[in-house]
């Protein structure tokens, strides 16, 4: 477990730093960086760069090229210029050149926090890791958590404070806000409004409380695009009051998900994935998952039975199941016999597992379905075992869909003079038909606090740049209520303000600093003084957790009658197809659209990057005469968008799924012209799905940038899976025998048993959900560049670790397997012997080493690699890198130049760091994790020393499910796979 020190070197800079004004600050990170120099600042042969879209390569600048080639001619003997060494002026006491520090902090998404550990080197965070002590993620982290680092160093971030185009200093801003506040004192803030992002931060709650005491009549509205209040409403129906529902999947054996994608994107998905995955190994403990959904989700892909239906049909299905469970009076048969049978079987299976089953409803489903889920869980006696209720964590900042409408009404009525917006980009994400932009322009003082200048900043008279969470002090709560302190790991890179300081400004305490506010609040809350508190405080910071803050379970009483009543509400009727909206796995609701890592992150199911196709089923596409990639006009209630369609295997018929968050017009180079804006079809009442969609085939074909063009395994034994039953009867066993064990060879194998370490990896396909966390973690750890849609389409995606997705069975309703593939580190590596310059060779410990600086780029190794895991720098992917982005680089990994081959190294830099630390201390390596393993919430990837028989990886390589990919080639891979086991219900076969 990483060593966690207490306060970072920035402790004494609680309040936002304006670096420009503080040389001390600047010399802090800059000079260390140069002193240690391994950052790209010292790239030498290897050009510096950062992950951003490469400059578009046109033929126009031919003179440039000539110049360049002339320069090439000049290459040769001449000596390089001498570097400068720039030491500190004053030593920061904690920091040492090149040392890795780990700071516990937290990152909240729509109010729910994940506990993180930031690895900082030379005063700058270089890696995001999950906090092993944190209950909701237990050391894992999501793709979004990982990618937050890129946002931190993004040169496109908003900078400074602006009022009507005029820059304001922090002090000037405070003065102005003071004037405003005093003006509003007169009428108790009747014309003062706050549109806040959902958050559970006790500090912010406290500040809001103090604000509402100063301005009793001020409006506080919480809003976020991707959250509707269906769940809360459902709870209100079932229990008469809002409660949070928490799943405990460890004891659960049968799971029914009603359009709930709880394994991804959900506030607790990291914990749920871990608990779910733990019980995917064959045996009595193995769980079974039923998923009812339209578009295939990560959860649906992991299901044993995926019941595809339109979102509007889920309610009916839920009613049927509930009726069979006796949770709802008056069973009605579903018109579709197959589905009716499914409902019976599922109900029976659930009933067989009373107290050990779970029914969960998706955020996108109407309140009634949530209420039904509550009723079913109650009927199944799951409450207390697999289902736990607590008070809502979000409290006063619970987002409501009505918030914007209410705000709009107020503005119309001229009741808002000052509006403070900390919610993300309402102008872009507001429901169709609500022209918030025009309204905001009417507000005399609309103060928009955001990380980036976007559609909303353009309409607001004030723009206040927000500090990145990694730059700010604060606190946050996980979905289970546990509080984490948020501590900065670097001083703000740009002049920016933290939310707490913004609110405090209206209390005329803006100059006190978030750090002081936070400390005071928690001191008051702890009731401790001086040293006693200091010790406690440092303990919290160290562990990144305030103990005993998790919400206690509470037992609300179910109102069955109300549920029954609500359940009777008719399903939406209408002509034409159905439109289903969903947050994107990459850009979420659009707030990550400027993050190149997430834009280029392949969709877990369809492997599309840089795009949001309109997904539909093959049958529907055929019926509508649409070809894959053809542009179609989607019309709903008179509004329409042009979107290219794509066939998604297993998608429900007569339904089109479109991801939110694309088609941005925020002027960012990254998100410009990527995808279509689904918000234009999104209305307040039908936030997630609506009936009556018209689809008209249009002209023009669109080429999607997919990282995997072929979705069939062609009957080859690649990603193997078996049914639990046949597995139990030993079938599959001998099938696997053919995929492992020694292969006869003329070459006597090298003996690695004498070495201290024999590195190896094991990937469990049964556990893997394909959530992509490992992919981004790898990208971050290894300085992997982004290439842009055009190059991805050309087949030049650079990801060292990819997740292959294969479909089998009927295209309408296929089964699917995801398979993470990275360098297999073959002991008889085919790539090695063909390299003419010995640039890829074998280490005594069995690593397949790739020596970038020796590589001349013949690409022969890639041709001869049967796994095609090697990646070539076809162009200079990075171009000129802004200084700030050079801080993003992991200083332990070379930044590769154009013309060089690269690939997964088993995070050799981590191995070597661990080795040196251990050997200096005269010990053996005790702990080393690969980046993908560390991020994986499902514990599907295990890396370690095969010569240590006690190690987990060594045990897993002996597992009955173990097999080698392309075993018959005799490559003797060090990465081995564990076959996936499905647990279908025989009654439903």
């Amino acid at each position: 477990m990483p060593s966690m020190k207490t306060l970072p070197i920035l402790q004494d800079h609680g309040q936002p730093q304006r670096l420009s004004g503080k040389p001390g600050q600047r010399s802090l990170w800059q000079s260390i960086q140069e002193l240690e120099g391994r950052s790209s600042g010292r790239a030498g042969e290897f050009a510096a760069g950062a992950a951003e879209v490469p400059p578009e390569l046109s033929r126009r600048s031919f003179l440039q090229i000539l110049g360049a080639s002339a320069a090439l001619a000049g290459l040769g003997a001449c000596q390089p210029p001498r570097e400068k060494i720039v030491p500190y002026v004053k030593d920061p006491k904690e920091d040492r050149p090149g040392k890795r520090f780990h700071y516990a902090t937290a990152l909240a998404l729509d109010g729910y926090a994940t506990g993180l550990v930031l690895a900082a080197s030379d005063g700058r965070p270089v890696k995001v890791e999950g906090n092993p002590l944190h209950p909701t993620n237990q050391g894992a982290s999501s793709a979004w958590d990982q990618a937050a680092l890129l946002d931190l160093y993004d040169p496109q971030r908003a900078k400074g404070i602006w009022r009507r185009g005029q820059p304001l200093s922090w002090r000037g801003f405070l003065a102005e806000v003071q004037k405003l506040a005093r003006a509003h004192d007169a009428d108790g803030g009747a014309k003062l409004a706050f549109l806040v992002a959902p958050d559970a931060s006790p500090l912010l709650a406290e500040l809001r409380r103090r604000l509402s005491t100063r301005f009793p009549r001020a409006r506080f509205l919480a809003w976020a695009p991707a959250t509707a209040d269906h769940a809360a409403e459902g709870a209100r129906i079932a229990f008469g009051r809002p409660v949070d529902m928490h799943l405990r999947l460890d004891p659960a054996r049968v799971l029914l998900s009603l359009d709930a994608d709880f394994l991804a994107g959900h506030g607790e998905s990291l914990r749920l994935t871990r608990e779910f995955a733990r019980h995917r190994e064959p045996g009595a403990e193995m769980n079974r998952l039923y998923v009812a959904e339209a578009a295939m989700t990560v959860t649906g892909a992991a299901a044993d039975h995926r019941l595809r239906m339109r979102p509007s049909e889920v309610a009916g299905f839920a009613r049927a199941v509930a009726a069979h469970l006796g949770a709802l009076p008056g069973a009605e048969a579903l018109e579709d016999p197959a589905r009716d049978r499914a409902a019976r079987v599922v109900a029976a299976d659930l009933a067989r597992n009373r107290g050990r089953s779970v029914v969960t409803a998706g955020e996108r489903q109407p309140a009634a379905v949530h209420a039904l889920a509550h009723a079913m869980n109650a009927a199944l006696g799951n409450v207390g075992t697999t289902v736990v209720y607590t008070k809502p964590v979000l409290g006063d900042a619970t987002p409501t869909a009505a918030a914007l409408a209410e705000l709009a009404k107020a503005i119309q009525a001229g009741q808002v003079d000052t509006l403070v917006v900390t919610a993300w980009n309402p102008v872009y994400a507001a429901p169709a038909g609500l022209d918030l932009g025009a309204l905001l322009a009417k507000v005399p003082n609309a103060i928009y606090h955001s990380l980036r200048d976007d559609e909303t900043s353009r309409r607001c008279s004030w723009r206040v740049a927000a500090s990145h969470p990694f730059e700010s002090w604060g606190d946050a709560r996980a979905r289970d209520g546990s509080v984490s302190l948020v501590q900065p790991v670097i001083a703000p890179l740009y002049e920016s303000v933290n939310a707490a300081d913004l609110f405090a400004a209206f209390l005329e305490q803006g100059d006190k600093g978030a750090f002081q506010h936070l400390r005071d609040y928690w001191q008051a809350r702890s009731g401790l003084q001086g040293q006693a508190f200091q010790a406690r405080w440092e303990g919290w910071l160290t562990r990144g957790l305030v103990p005993g803050t998790a919400e206690p379970a509470d037992g609300p009483a179910l109102n069955a009658a109300a549920v029954a009543a609500a359940a009777r509400s008719p399903a939406p009727k209408g002509e034409g197809l159905e439109l289903a909206l969903a947050p994107s796995y990459g850009v979420f609701d659009g707030r990550f659209a400027t993050n190149a890592w997430l834009q280029e992150l392949p969709d877990p199911i369809t492997k599309v990057t840089w795009d949001n196709p309109a997904y539909l089923s093959e049958a529907t596409a055929r019926r509508l005469g649409l070809a894959d990639g053809q542009v179609a006009t989607l019309t709903l209630q008179g509004r329409s968008v042009q979107a290219p369609v794509a066939v998604m295997p297993g998608h429900a018929d007569d339904c089109v799924t479109l991801a939110l968050g694309y088609g941005r017009s925020d002027g960012s180079a990254t998100s410009k012209g990527v995808g279509v804006d689904a918000y234009e079809l999104r209305t307040a009442p039908d936030a997630w799905f609506a009936v009556g969609l018209g689809v008209a085939p249009g002209k023009g074909k669109h080429k999607f940038a997919v990282t995997q063009g072929h979705l069939s395994m062609e009957g080859r034994p690649l990603a193997l899976d078996f049914d639990a039953q046949e597995w139990a009867h030993g079938h599959g066993g001998h099938e696997l025998e053919a995929q492992r064990g020694p292969v006869p060879s003329a070459q006597p194998p090298v003996d690695y048993s004498k070495e201290d370490y024999k590195w190896g990896m094991s990937v469990d396909l049964s556990r893997c959900t394909g959530c992509n966390a490992c992919v981004v973690a790898c990208q971050e750890e290894n300085n992997i560049p982004v290439v842009g849609a055009e190059q991805v389409a050309k087949g030049r995606n650079m990801a060292w670790l990819r997740i292959d997705r294969y479909f089998a069975g009927p295209a309408a309703d296929p089964q699917t397997v995801g398979q993470p593939v990275m360098c297999q580190h073959c002991e008889t590596a085919p790539c090695e012997y063909v390299c003419p310059v010995n640039a890829t060779v074998h280490s005594p410990e069995g690593l397949n080493e790739m020596v970038y600086n020796r590589c001349v780029g013949t690409r022969y190794c890639s041709n001869n690699c049967p796994y095609k895991v090697r990646r070539f720098n076809f162009l200079d992917w990075r171009g000129e890198v802004p200084a700030v982005q050079t801080m993003l680089f992991n200083p332990d990994v070379t930044v590769r130049s154009r013309g060089v081959m690269e690939k997964c190294t088993y995070c050799v830099q981590r191995i070597e760091r661990a080795r040196i630390d251990a050997r200096v201390a005269g010990k053996k390596i005790e702990f080393v994790q690969s980046a993908c393993q560390q991020a994986c919430p499902a514990e599907a990837i295990v890396f370690g020393n095969l010569n240590d028989k006690a190690s987990k990886v060594a045990r897993l390589q002996e597992d009955a499910r173990r097999y080698d990919l392309l075993h018959d080639l005799g490559t003797r891979p060090r990465t081995t796979y564990l076959a996936r086991i499905r647990n279908p219900n025989p009654d439903l076969a």
Binding site: Q747, V750, T828, E832
Partner: protein, 176 residues
């Protein structure tokens, strides 16, 4: 050919050329030589030339090439910096063969050329013979015979040459 002079005789056909040469050799005349646009079958025998050393040179060089190829590959990959490339077998390996062959051929070929240059004393753009304008035909379509004679015998030998069928006789001038 310190005091000697060189006489050139042009002959219409190979038979008369060879005949003349045999006769002159019988009479123990000085160094004889032919000049022709194409190799003359049997000239060696007529002039009594020794076997050419070229085959030996080529053989020796070729052998050196093969041996150095073995040494190079063995030393560089298995002594200087032994590396495990994809578990492929160490010494001796069949992978040496291609380079052994190529290096052998390369050295043999180059040495043949060098050998010729040395034997011919090339480059040699100038030769006293090129003082004789008529001699230009030697590379075009004429057969010439050259013989070295003491200055005194020039007259006698040129008559001799004519008698043996020379259609033209030239005296190579003294070089200033």
């Amino acid at each position: 050919m310190s005091a000697g002079r060189t006489l050139l005789g042009k002959y219409p056909d190979v038979d008369s050329l060879f005949g003349a040469a045999r006769k002159l050799r019988g009479d123990g005349a000085g160094r004889l030589n032919f000049y022709s646009p194409f190799p003359l079958e049997g000239a060696e025998e007529v002039l009594g030339l020794r076997k050419s050393p070229i085959p030996f040179i080529a053989g020796a060089a070729g052998f050196t090439g093969v041996v150095s190829a073995v040494l190079m590959q063995w030393w560089m990959n298995d002594v200087a910096y032994p590396i495990n490339v994809g578990n492929r077998m160490a010494v001796p390996t069949p992978t040496w063969v291609p380079i052994m062959f190529e290096l052998g051929v390369l050295l043999a070929g180059v040495s043949i050329f060098m050998g010729l240059m040395a034997l011919f004393r090339f480059p040699q753009p100038y030769s006293p013979l090129s003082e004789v304008e008529a001699f230009r035909s030697a590379t075009v379509d004429a057969l010439w015979l050259s013989v070295n004679v003491p200055a005194a015998d020039v007259e006698r030998t040129s008559d001799e040459l004519r008698r043996l069928g020379a259609v033209d006789v030239q005296l190579v001038p003294e070089v200033a």
